[in-house]
Symmetry: C2
Subunit: 204 residues, 2 copies
């Protein structure tokens, strides 16, 4: 096996390496502190190398966001799949997965919903975001299968907004300033059950 030298001229996996170092850098420095050069530095290449894999820094951010949406979708389905309690249980669990991902990757989550990533609207990013949206809509519709399309849409709005809003405000520090992590989880679950009850009540 021809193991590559310590620093070969051709990296070979630079796109992946940049996505990895970029994600770490993003969580470390935040969106404003993110720089292409530092990202390249961590991947062990010169500052101009990324240009051959990402057209611009916004293009790289869009890629990070797209990967984030894919991972978010996985987190949601994984949590939902191990849930009990039928469709309603799945809806709540999916919300738990959503919140857990956001809490574990706050800067990435912020980027995904920040419009900074959407400056360069790549098809990959749009598709990844759309997949997450459909996941949410499907979970809501499974709870109220006999409701009208309009009601389903409005309940999907409602469910998505509640979950997204709560975790956003929490990460921003607008909710539960000095509460313990344990207490915050209780508040999150409480919100999720109130949301699910509303979906059932209005839609059923």
């Amino acid at each position: 096996m021809a193991r590559p030298k310590a620093q070969p001229y051709h990296h070979g996996q630079l796109r992946e390496a940049l996505a990895t170092s970029g994600r770490a850098l993003l969580e470390e420095k935040g969106i404003r502190g993110f720089t292409l050069r530092e990202c390249a530095r961590r991947a062990g290449v010169s500052h101009a190398a990324p240009a051959y894999h990402f057209a611009s820094i916004d293009d790289l951010l869009a890629e990070l966001a797209a990967r984030g949406f894919q991972e978010l979708g996985s987190a949601m389905t994984a949590e939902a799949d191990r849930a009990e309690g039928g469709a309603t249980g799945r809806l709540v669990a999916q919300g738990v997965g959503y919140m857990a991902f956001a809490a574990g990757n706050p800067a990435l989550f912020q980027l995904m919903f920040s419009r900074e990533a959407n400056r360069l609207e790549t098809p990959t990013l749009a598709a990844a975001a759309e997949a997450v949206r459909k996941l949410q809509a499907a979970a809501v519709e499974a709870v109220i299968p006999h409701a009208s399309g309009e009601i389903k849409q409005r309940m999907a709005d409602f469910a998505g907004a509640s979950v997204h809003g709560f975790i956003s405000l929490l990460l921003e520090g607008e909710i539960g300033g000095k509460d313990s992590s344990r207490a915050l989880k209780v508040r999150g679950l409480s919100l999720l059950s109130a949301m699910a009850e509303t979906v059932v009540r209005v839609g059923g």
Copy 2:
């Protein structure tokens, strides 16, 4: 050579001028596109002048965010004060004011809830954000005056999260991609009434 009156050596109102030009610049270029030098340029001063009024660019952004929270609070109370339908009507109207402000100042709204502003946690910013939080809590409590403190808190979480989440997702393009402005308002109002009904039902 005498300086033109229009641009005297001492500006006199530079802090205000920077806040004004900064706000416009923010909406134009977004958070990442915001630069201190362009801000100074628009205010008609040299690039180093802002340093005497704002310690850093983050300090200026924090000021913009703080002013944003004050204005948001005003928008909420103004809308609530002209509402009918008692406490519940006020709660819904306050949500309308919240959404209207966000829709009218998307970049500022994003900054206010972006944690980029909170890097430099000024007392002014913290107080302004706290005032908005109290406004929301008060509107919820007025609807369910006899509920327990815990229920009140959870309903405040719920109401705040729904409203904030909906408008955030809308501004980000995650909700209602090709719907008309009119249709979006209907969806927003529908969400607000579902939220208010839940508060009444759970808390009452």
